[in-house]
Symmetry: C2
Subunit: 158 residues, 2 copies
Amino acid sequence: MQNTRNTMQRDIVLNAVLESCTHPTADNIYHEVHEAHPHISRATVYRNLSVLSGEGKIQKITHTGTADRYDFNLSHHYHFRCTACDKVFDIDLPYDEGILGRVPNKAGFRLSGCEVMFTGLCPACVAAEAAPGAETAGSNKAYSQQNDIFGGTETWQN
Amino acid sequence: MQNTRNTMQRDIVLNAVLESCTHPTADNIYHEVHEAHPHISRATVYRNLSVLSGEGKIQKITHTGTADRYDFNLSHHYHFRCTACDKVFDIDLPYDEGILGRVPNKAGFRLSGCEVMFTGLCPACVAAEAAPGAETAGSNKAYSQQNDIFGGTETWQN
DNA sequence: ATTTTGATTGAGATACATTATCAATTAGGA
DNA sequence: TCCTAATTGATAATGTATCTCAATCAAAAT
């Protein structure tokens, strides 16, 4: 993979992420891309998301219990994940750029990164919890990703 | 699940985690338990790990790209994951207990936790990288978990 | 412009971790 | 002892992601 090529498919996938105002999963991107370009396969979307994040053109957010997310915002910033509906939000807290330097570097380890994820409930799910009998907003994780498309960028501080 | 029962299976699973000096995956625990007690099924192990971490008796470490890990150490501490062999180590860095308090709490969010994972290469994989032609220590992620059983507690600082 | 080469694609199979299903069993209180 | 709901075991199913491989195509070399 020393030489990467400019393919239409790669551009389409990249633009889908860049134009997203949320933190889409690979599956979100696949559905969005596939709708406009039915000939583009799932493997191609996953492959290109991987290549693009490897090239540093987009950012991959990894955290389990949920699918990986992709972020057009390349700057260092913290994320918040709602444990009920799985939506991911940006957090408005200055990134601690010095944390890697404070780890005592010993014993042959090679330290390269630090991933931070805040967890809790988003406003919609806090409200849903307060309203007994009502469904949690997107309580079914299997399908909640389809709700994860907002009009504006989702940020912690609104 | 208001009343939990003391079952033999739950005790066996709990002890398997408590006696582990590493950060085993659910699958690690299943194999260990299943070897001594062939009648205990995979679903039972997964269910009990989930119940036990819900009760706070063990700690669940979530981070994608790899299976969930369980930790007998309930205290707040940081983890390091080798991105080549997937082993998880403890990091000897004082936990920043105040980070939750520094997040600007607005807009109806309910903040409950913060998960931090350092990434990089462990000594074995640094060495494997330096020796061309040699296999990365546990390079095949699908099976590397079987290598994740050490004699002593794995810590960053040794 | 043509050839060559290897990166990329599409479609589906496959892998893996985890959860769901459901009848049978069982712990613990009445 | 009896009841009842929690739990179990075996297996199917699900979600996410990767692998396979022949066909295609971008871009460098000629």
